[in-house]
């Protein structure tokens, strides 16, 4: 029996998150290159879309189930995943680099005496070992690293590894009921924020900076985000000024993002902001100052007035979508 590589999946509100399929796909690809057997593990209560994993080549998923585990509990989730990894003798675990993954992966690492590389943007097999590439200094530099521990843990940045469709040759779900989960630390409720989408997960981000001139003008950003199904982002300057909440901040002391499309409006492009968004696939800059550094990383730019261009862009996209 080949040794195992495990995809640790994340569920929220009864379904697996998109990034879970990215973890699954990464694990299947690594398993083929390393001659390991790919499995998945998830902790939660009801999960409706577990069968979808069979589209990504996963043969087996272990579902640790208890109604008290519908919400995240660091203690109970760590117990379940660490003991499952020990039991199955897993050599590699791949977590999503989400709020849950970042909280959970290091805890499991301590239990397994495993090294951990966070926020990987590339995982390559070289000489039968995994070499991970991850950003440091918020993306101002990249490092290639490998782990010297026997068991290895990697977390992957959402939206970077595209899930590959490979039908599983066989597929089974092993439901494992959890008795008396350790709920010493537990989530008791969730306060949803007003924004519809989070910048860390969005495929398109429309971001505003000081050039928006005041919080009262951000409706222009929101309207464009709305027609694109995008998340609203912000520069540090406008967050520090109190125009926008910190959760929207993109950059070195905010979130580092890699969406397919990043539209920067009235953002000049300070180093710490560029670090957080320049790995976006396509960047559009709209800024009055044609010499602003943001144009150096933009694929397409309009060197004009955001107050004129934003409404026109929103209208044009509305036309396209209708």
């Amino acid at each position: 029996m080949a040794e195992k590589i495990l995809a640790v999946l994340e569920q929220r509100e009864v379904s697996l998150k998109k990034v879970s399929f990215e973890s699954a796909s990464v694990v299947v690809s690594l398993s083929n290159q390393l001659g390991l057997s790919a499995e998945a593990v998830v902790v939660g209560n009801e999960i409706t879309n577990l069968n979808d994993l069979s589209k990504y080549g996963i043969g087996k998923v272990a579902h640790f189930k208890n109604e008290q585990l519908a919400n995240y509990s660091p203690t109970a989730y760590t117990d379940a995943i660490a003991s499952f990894a020990k039991e199955t003798g897993a050599k590699i675990l791949v977590f999503p680099n989400t709020a849950m993954g970042v909280d959970l992966a290091p805890r499991v690492a301590v239990r397994l005496n495993a090294g951990v590389v966070m926020d990987c943007m590339k995982l390559e097999v070289k000489d039968n070992d995994v070499v991970a590439t991850r950003p440091v200094y918020a993306g101002k530099a990249l490092i290639d690293v490998k782990l010297t521990s026997d068991i290895k843990i990697f977390t992957i940045r959402p939206n970077v590894f595209k899930p590959q469709n490979v039908d599983s040759t066989s597929f089974e779900i092993n439901v494992q009921p959890v008795d008396n989960p350790n709920l010493k630390t537990r989530v008791t409720s969730f306060k949803k924020s007003e924004g519809k989408l989070d910048v860390a997960e969005a495929d398109i981000i429309v971001s505003g900076g000081r050039g928006m001139k005041g919080p009262e003008n951000f409706h222009l950003i929101e309207e464009l985000a709305d027609v694109l199904g995008a998340a609203v982002g912000a520069s540090r300057a406008v967050v520090d000024a109190g125009w926008r909440p910190h959760r929207e901040q993109v950059g070195q002391t905010g979130k580092t993002v890699s969406p397919s499309l990043y539209i920067a409006c009235g953002i000049s492009g300070a180093i710490q902001h560029l670090a957080g968004m320049s790995s976006s696939k396509y960047i559009v800059a709209i800024n009055k100052d044609k010499d602003a550094p943001i144009f150096n990383v933009a694929d397409y730019g309009i060197a004009g007035d955001v107050f004129e261009i934003l409404p026109a862009l929103t209208e044009e996209i509305k036309k396209l979508k209708s």
């Binding site: 660091p74 926020d119 440091v136 200094y137 993306g139 101002k140 949803k192 004009g304 007035d305 261009i309």
Partner: protein, 250 residues
């Protein structure tokens, strides 16, 4: 109660990174080092907690690094921390190795409550707090934007995608601070003067360097500057066409 705050020193966020000659670290020439921004929230929360519970509570500030970190430790003393301890090491790059050194010292001091920034803005892993907690068998809430301690009981709010989780746990615990948790105080002149007189305790950190081997550090591929399509709204249809037909992102 004994409270620990773990801090680190990082390049100023306005720094333009140059890769060092070893191709495994940055070139520190001309780089200004500052206290990790998230650690300021951790220090503030520790001081607030001490003020609230009163009695003979003490705030210890800890860091792993070389002599240059003393300046940052002094800043924490100036803000109001009682004692500073430098765990001397110039080699640790791996969170696991750093966490082990911190956990050993926290155990040694007998701190029941530990604060640190949610991530250090250099290697950005965001895991040291969770590692320390797990090594000590402490509870842990990470990325905290609201913290309440009532006796032994902790109610904290942590930031996640799309909202905040309300988390309940109890002491002993490690809390990692996110921006928004509080407004860090400025050091008073009196604080700064007092900090100058304080001795920073120095101890060797343990020699476990963790599990990460850095093979190479490099700059991200530079982007070709793109096209400026125009200077007013007449460029909008062309922009939309390119996004749709060339970039295929909308």
């Amino acid at each position: 109660m004994k409270i620990a705050v773990c801090i680190s020193q990082v390049p100023d966020t306005a720094t333009r990174i140059k890769i060092g000659a070893d191709h495994k670290s940055i070139d520190p020439t001309g780089v200004t080092f500052i206290i990790n921004p998230y650690d300021e929230f951790a220090i503030e929360e520790a001081l607030k907690t001490k003020e609230k519970i009163g009695g003979d509570s003490l705030v210890y500030v800890l860091s792993v690094g070389d002599d240059s970190v003393k300046e940052t430790l002094r800043k924490a003393l100036a803000m109001g921390a009682d004692e500073a301890i430098l765990l001397k090491d110039s080699n640790k790059k791996d969170s696991f190795g750093i966490a082990k050194a911190l956990a050993d010292e926290i155990k040694n001091l007998g701190c029941e409550l530990v604060f640190m920034g949610k991530q250090s803005v250099d290697f950005d892993s965001g895991i040291t707090g969770q590692l320390v907690a797990e090594m000590l068998g402490y509870n842990c809430v990470s990325v905290v934007v609201d913290f309440k301690l009532d006796g032994n009981k902790i109610i904290a709010e942590r930031e996640i995608e799309g909202g905040r989780e309300v988390v309940e746990t109890e002491l002993p615990a490690v809390i990692t601070a996110q921006k928004g948790l509080n407004e860090p105080r400025y050091a008073s002149l009196k604080g700064i003067m007092a900090a100058k007189k304080k001795t920073i305790a120095e101890k060797p950190a343990n020699d476990f360097n963790g599990y990460t081997e850095i093979l190479d550090m490099h700059l991200p591929p530079s982007k070709q500057p793109g096209r400026i399509l125009g200077t007013d709204k007449s460029a909008v249809p062309e922009l939309v066409r390119l996004l749709r037909e060339e970039a295929k992102v909308i």
